[in-house]
Amino acid sequence: MTKPLEIKSGFAFFFLKECRTFAPIFRDRYFLSFMHINYFTKFLFIGLLFFSGTIFAQGVEHHIDVPEGANNAGMEEEIDEDIEHHIQDSYSFTFFSDSETGKHYGFPLPVILWDDGLHVFSSSKFHHGETVAESNGNHYKLYHNKVYKTDAAGTINYDEEHHPTNAKPLDFSITKNVVMMFVTGLLMFLLFAGLAKSFKKGPIATGAGRFFEPIVLYIRDDIAKPNIGPKYKKFMPYLLTVFFFIWFLNLFGLTPLGVNVTGNIAVTFALAIITFIITQFSGNKNYWKHIFWMPGVPVPMKFILAPIELLGVFIKPFALMIRLYANIMAGHVVLMSIIALVFFVQNWIGGGLSLVLAFFLSIIELLVAALQAYIFTLLSALYFGFAVEEHDHEEAH
């Protein structure tokens, strides 16, 4: 899982070879139904292929002779790059680009660097990584979507593993994801301040708030109250904010805007660390006692349990971070790979199937968007609940 993109393309490639090989058989109408099943079973095994694809596809590549191999490889690379660009953060907000003319449609965003002084310039200076940007006598170049300090010619030095050795300045740029976070924040503020305002007029919400009010109540009654207990009020603002923030960003990720904010490790790390900090700071005597000196177990067990519990304190937010990141990331990669199938299987059946599958996967992703926000909120509430829980009955444990 260290290189999901390669794996994915391997799967797609394998698919392509299979279809080409059996093309003559498919022309026979008696095999049409068989072919359908064949396609279908393959799609059912997507998960399997997704994880074991690389090895499998390489094997196929060796056995079957493909005349237009070079052409496919080029397309494969292009799709890989496209997907990678989609799931990664970017210094400019690009809606789409024309690879033939090399034109990008979108708008540049400010790049803010700290490198012995503040450097602020527009990302249009990078020309999407094609040119070197100059600012206050320093030169910077984009390489694999990261800013490196270079000389005026834009030379990038590599070590033996082909990693750049150039210095990386501290980067506080307003990237695409930052813009989306800002937009989401603004949207949330307008929406919920509006809901709050509509409550001033009467006890019943009006407008869009009508839709969100039950969700707010759901978070209070079904997430906060049962999991935190009587002290739930203190945590409500965080739980509500984090739920709607993740949910909205997940939904934005499914739009053709092509943003992947919650599928970015820095974002989920920030969210998880806030949960972690709130948990530790609201932890009462009981919470720490359960970690370092578990009540109700024999003394030797207490020594064994203490490091495990302490490790658990860090694993919990780590899992929180990874779960959100991996779910959203995997959703985007799978969805884009299935859309990309159209370019490999250049016939109407494959194209149609790709469309149908992408449609259903989008619906599942809609569910996942809400589910992941819910799970993040629920688990945060659960951890807060552990931290503020009062035990009058020590012997019960």
């Binding site: 899982m1 260290t2 074991s52 899992a319 990874i322 779960r323």
Partner: protein, 63 residues
Amino acid sequence: MEIPGIVGGGLIVIGVGIGIGRIGGSAMDAIARQPEATGKIQTAMLIAAALIEGIGFAALFVS
């Protein structure tokens, strides 16, 4: 012979799949037995599944 890390990943996915599958199956049984407790069972199921999934993801990314 060196075993590629992806094999470990596959093992993790198998383990997590079995675990979450069992949770889901048991939850279905429980719901079938007590349809009135569906909400509570679902919450408990999601929490348990999320915990296993978290460990699974952690292992997957470490591998």
